[in-house]
Amino acid sequence: MIEKNHQGGGNTPLTFVEILNDMNQEGGFSRSVLATSEGLPIASTPGTPDSELASAMVAMLQQAASETRNQFQLPPIDEFTIRTDNKLRLICRTIKIDSELMILGVIVPPGQLYRRVTNKAINRIRGAL
């Protein structure tokens, strides 16, 4: 048997939280969450207690989007959006890596661009796995 010491992590070069923080800062996003397709939180910024709820919600939206895609026989989903009256947007990007499907959800202020910044974050998420 091997026993090996490990200091509780946290020293990884790039954590998911760091990636989301960088993305929020660069894109001017107020909030972001990375969740599994089952709705479990992987990371969120800011780290609010309702990140579990946010993860579950984006996963539920993803399931609805996926069902819609199946019904309409559309190609694979890249993103889906909820837009509010005041032009705030919840952008959800799907990330497929091997057999894993993850969802990146971001709150984007009115008029703010998001594609390039979220693409960059997705690439970094892929690299962190």
Binding site: M1, I2, E3, K4, N5, H6, G8, G9, G10, N11, T12, T15, F16, L34, A35, T36, E38, L40, P41, I42, A43, S44, S51, S55, E100, M102, A128, L129
Partner: protein, 163 residues
């Protein structure tokens, strides 16, 4: 720390590499890998409280009970995972092909999705190693659903007699 299992170093190195990666990525406190009977194979990290050998043995009991429970609700595959959420520490258990038990102990601040994501990846890498393990150690010999079922039924009848 010898626990009576003599596993080839090469196999242990592969296991250690996988557990190291899981610990680093999922920011866990402690990861244990045991055989299905609850004998420790490898420990990664620290346990602030408790003894790894006892935790592994208890986990083996939990995995056997959960396999029986899932079969009673009509689930045919007993090799699943389950998760206990505590106030400060949580435990994620995964029955790997009926040969290994992966036990991940982590703080409740660590998102469960993070643990599950990387644990699933670790399990995918550990599955092929169960074959190697069985070649060396022999086939798993603990969990027998019929025996377990008879035993638990008897225990339940003894505890709550029907007549």
């Amino acid at each position: 720390m010898s626990k009576g299992l003599h596993i080839p170093e090469e196999l242990l190195d592969k296991i250690e590499y996988i557990l190291d990666h899981l610990a680093e990525k999922a920011r866990t406190d402690c990861i244990l890998l045991a055989d299905i009977s609850g004998q420790l194979i490898s420990v990664q990290g620290f346990m602030e409280e408790g003894t790894p050998a006892i935790v592994a043995a208890l986990a083996a009991g939990d995995v056997a009970a959960m396999a029986e429970l899932s079969s009673r609700i009509g689930e045919s595959d007993p090799h699943g995972s389950f998760f206990h959420e505590g106030e400060t520490k949580s435990i994620y258990l995964h029955n790997i092909s009926g040969s290994f038990i992966l036990i991940v102990i982590f703080r409740t601040e660590t998102p469960i999705g993070l643990v599950r994501l990387f644990a699933k990846r670790a399990v995918e890498q550990l599955v092929p190693l169960t074959k190697e393990f069985e070649q060396v150690m022999g086939p798993p010999k603990t969990y027998n659903p019929d025996e377990f079922s008879k035993g638990i039924t008897q225990e339940l009848e003894d505890t709550f007699p029907t007549n």
